[in-house]
């Protein structure tokens, strides 16, 4: 594996399977009374969040702490960044403090690439602009594997699994990372969105493209709904939230078109009543809460593998 995790594109099939298998081993930690391993003791993980994202930040924080790393949370608000400090100077500051890993969330696509040029530690992309969110894709892959193949399974990829991803693909970093990662694992991915919310050259991506959710649902083992920001409406991406819901929202009637074992995913935060109806989000098919729990486990695996912690005690084979 690379020193950094910046794009799902950087991961080979073996890399991904290794991360998922490591996560599977680490999953047992969450079930223990003392949810902590000593593997990253003495290592420092900085959560560098230029964008508000409490969910992702606490997920990384929990992951690092369960591995006994020291965690420093750096939020851009009210910090030197708000006073005009550049990303480079922030990076040099963290470098001077001896960060072993920097988890970065930033509104600019490519910010983690830039950061990786300025720090010695590992850079983990926790979402950059409209580019990527690779740990989200990893936790989604982990969730799919656990649901479809069973808990405790290792060594397997996702060959032949049919995944439909519906929502704002153009601005969606989750869609981009999932297309790359899931196709690496052998899944057949289809993107569904209004044409305005698809990148112009989406035809060159390793996935299918459709504008019609209804026709894709019966062919899906997994349907993943992405958040649609209501402000997109003002830029004429779609006429109204009502129309979006009518054409691309997943409600109970649409969910009934899915095969019996198909699952419904959402990376959160949800717009209940827009891209996903409440009774769908709360149905037994929904993996939304599991995804949150799996997020911590998968991020533990990523930090563990990147920082090359000590052998996993008790969970090594």
């Amino acid at each position: 594996m690379n020193r950094h995790l910046i794009s799902a594109e950087d991961l080979s099939r073996d890399d991904v399977v290794l991360i998922l298998d490591t996560a599977e081993e680490l999953a047992s930690v969450a079930d223990r009374p003392i949810k902590k391993l000593p593997t990253l003791r003495g290592r420092t993980v900085v959560n560098l969040f230029f964008e508000d994202s409490t969910r992702t930040r606490i997920s990384f924080e929990a992951a690092a702490k369960r591995l006994s790393a020291d965690v420093i949370n750096f939020s851009a608000k009210g910090s030197s960044v708000a006073k005009g400090e550049s990303l480079k100077d922030t990076a040099l500051t963290l470098e001077a403090m001896g960060a072993d890993a920097v988890v970065i969330r930033h509104s600019a696509s490519g910010a983690p690439h830039r950061l990786a040029g300025w720090v010695r530690g590992s850079v983990v992309n926790a979402g950059d602009g409209t580019h990527e969110h690779p740990t989200q894709a990893l936790l989604d892959a982990f969730t799919i594997r656990r649901r479809l193949r069973g808990h405790g399974q290792t060594g397997q990829a996702l060959d032949g699994v049919r995944v439909t991803i519906a929502g704002d693909v153009l601005h969606g970093r989750v869609a981009r990372s999932n297309v790359l990662l899931l196709s690496t694992l052998g899944a057949q991915v289809t993107l569904v969105a209004p044409p305005t919310l698809m990148p112009l050259a989406v035809g060159s991506w390793p996935c299918g493209v459709s504008y019609d959710l209804d026709s894709e649902l019966p062919k899906s083992d997994v349907v993943m709904m992405l958040r649609v920001q209501q402000e997109r409406m003002s830029a004429a991406y779609f006429p109204s939230v009502r129309e979006y819901r009518r054409r691309y929202g997943l409600d109970a009637a649409r969910m009934a078109r899915l095969p019996d074992d198909a699952i419904v995913m959402h990376p959160g935060p949800m717009n209940r009543g827009v891209e996903i109806a409440a009774d769908v989000a709360d149905s037994p098919r929904s993996t939304i809460v599991e995804q949150v729990a799996n997020g911590v486990t998968v991020r533990m695996a990523v930090l563990y593998l990147l920082l090359g912690g000590a052998e996993l005690p008790a969970v090594t084979q």
Binding site: L87, S109, G110, G129, P199, L200, A201, S204
Partner: protein, 432 residues
């Protein structure tokens, strides 16, 4: 060094036969074989090509206002090192060159620097705001004698204002140089809209945003019978429209930058903003078409769009970074690589696209003239056989944002003469 007499021995005149060029009193006095030195300083130019001094239609010298990025002094030094004897200084300074006062200031700074002639470009609209016409006549009548007007950096997007500007400058043989970019179609745009922008998650700058304005302005120029110049053409579609407009005999000219002749949007893959430029780097297919258009004359000129920026403006996230790249010192070598080595243009063609035609478009009378006896001695001596060397900033420009850094380019500018006086000898700047 005074404008003494020089005898340039054995240079090849833009692809012709080797010969000697005698220079005295600022003009070429004689061209021929085995001329007598008559006490003049002799420059051995064996194997070198003598080109008419290069003329740049599109230079950002940044002064007044952004002297941290470039000054007239440092920018023209870089120009001389690149073989240029005249540059057009774009109007997007701080304050904007939208009054006779500012253009005269830039013109005077150019005179004082002495490395190359500086011809100021005037803004089309006050403050480049696209609202009210600047006092174009006052700038034309000023000591700076402005003939090219441009809001470069911004598009004159309002069709009525563009029409009026085109019409108005007819009174003094002016030309409007348009930065073709539909502002609505490029809100937040970062990179050519296509496979790369989709992959990198950078907001797309679609080709149609340029082509729509190019088409509109060609039609306007035809309608009012006034001269239009298209800055930094970057797409195959724009080429097609300009070719069509020219086939109609319409008064349209166009330029292309060296970087659009050599680089593509694939270079953005690492998010290094040194490759961030406006209009953005396009695809390989666009590059091919631009080269062809420059070769067949559809595109008239190479113009650098030399856009210096301080280090901190580029050491950022892509979206935060400033637009633009330097280009004066590398332009001729890039054209050598992209056009001459590919067989698309000979050295006579290079002289035409980098000196004759840009001087004509810029209404410069003392530049861009063929090197014949009696003509102003503006000359560039270029060594086409110099081994390809990796580009590194020379330090002449205040800025180092060259996209060609580390790239091997052929050739070397050996000497530049401005009215008979060397500004560069042996590839080094001669301090006046």
């Amino acid at each position: 060094m005074s404008a003494a007499s020089w005898l340039i021995r054995g240079a090849t005149l833009a692809g012709g036969d080797p010969g000697d060029i005698a220079v005295s009193g600022g003009v070429i006095t004689e061209i021929g074989a085995h001329l007598d030195a008559h006490g003049a300083q002799v420059l051995d130019a064996d194997g070198l090509i003598a080109l008419p001094g290069l003329v740049d239609l599109h230079t950002h010298l940044r002064e007044p206002g952004r002297e941290d990025a470039e000054t007239v002094e440092t920018g023209t030094a870089a120009a001389a090192l690149g073989g240029y004897t005249a540059v057009h200084a774009m109007a997007n300074t701080e304050p904007v060159a939208d009054t006779a006062g500012v253009v005269e200031q830039v013109w005077r700074l150019g005179k004082a620097a002495g490395h190359a002639d500086v011809q100021p470009v005037g803004a089309v609209t006050v403050g480049l705001n696209g609202q009210h016409l600047a006092e174009l006549g006052a700038m034309a009548d000023s000591a700076a004698h402005v003939r090219v007007f441009s809001d470069d950096g911004k598009c004159v997007a309002d069709p009525l204002l563009m029409r009026r500007a085109l019409e108005y400058v007819k009174a003094f043989n002016g030309v409007i140089a348009q930065h073709a970019q539909d502002p609505r179609l490029t809100e937040g745009a970062q990179l050519n809209e296509g496979e790369m922008s989709g992959r990198l998650g950078l907001a797309g700058w679609p080709a149609v945003a340029e082509e729509g304005i190019v088409a509109r302005d060609c039609l306007l120029a035809a309608h009012v019978g006034s001269a239009l110049h298209i800055c930094h053409v970057s797409t195959a579609g724009s080429v097609e429209i300009i070719r069509w407009a020219k086939s109609k005999g319409w008064p349209v000219t166009a330029e292309v930058t060296p970087h659009h002749l050599l680089l593509t949007d694939e270079l953005a893959a690492g998010y290094d903003p040194v490759f961030k430029v406006n209009p953005p780097l396009r695809t390989g297919a666009d590059v091919t078409e631009l080269r062809q258009a420059l070769a067949d004359g559809t595109i008239d000129a190479v113009a650098t769009d030399h856009a210096p920026h301080p280090v901190e403006a580029k050491e950022t996230e892509w979206a935060e970074a400033a637009w633009g790249m330097t280009g004066l010192e590398t332009a001729l070598r890039v054209v050598h690589q992209a056009m001459v080595k590919t067989g698309l243009l000979d050295w006579q063609g290079v002289a035409d696209r980098m000196s004759y035609r840009p001087a004509r478009i810029g209404r410069l009378t003392h530049h861009g003239t063929p090197p014949v006896a009696g003509a102003a001695a503006n000359l560039t001596l270029y060594d086409p056989a110099a081994p390809a060397e990796a580009v590194s900033p020379s330090g002449a420009s205040k800025s180092r944002n060259t996209p060609f850094a580390g790239m091997e380019l052929p050739g070397r500018v050996v000497a530049t003469f401005l009215r008979g006086t060397p500004t560069v000898l042996d590839g080094k700047l001669i301090r006046a």
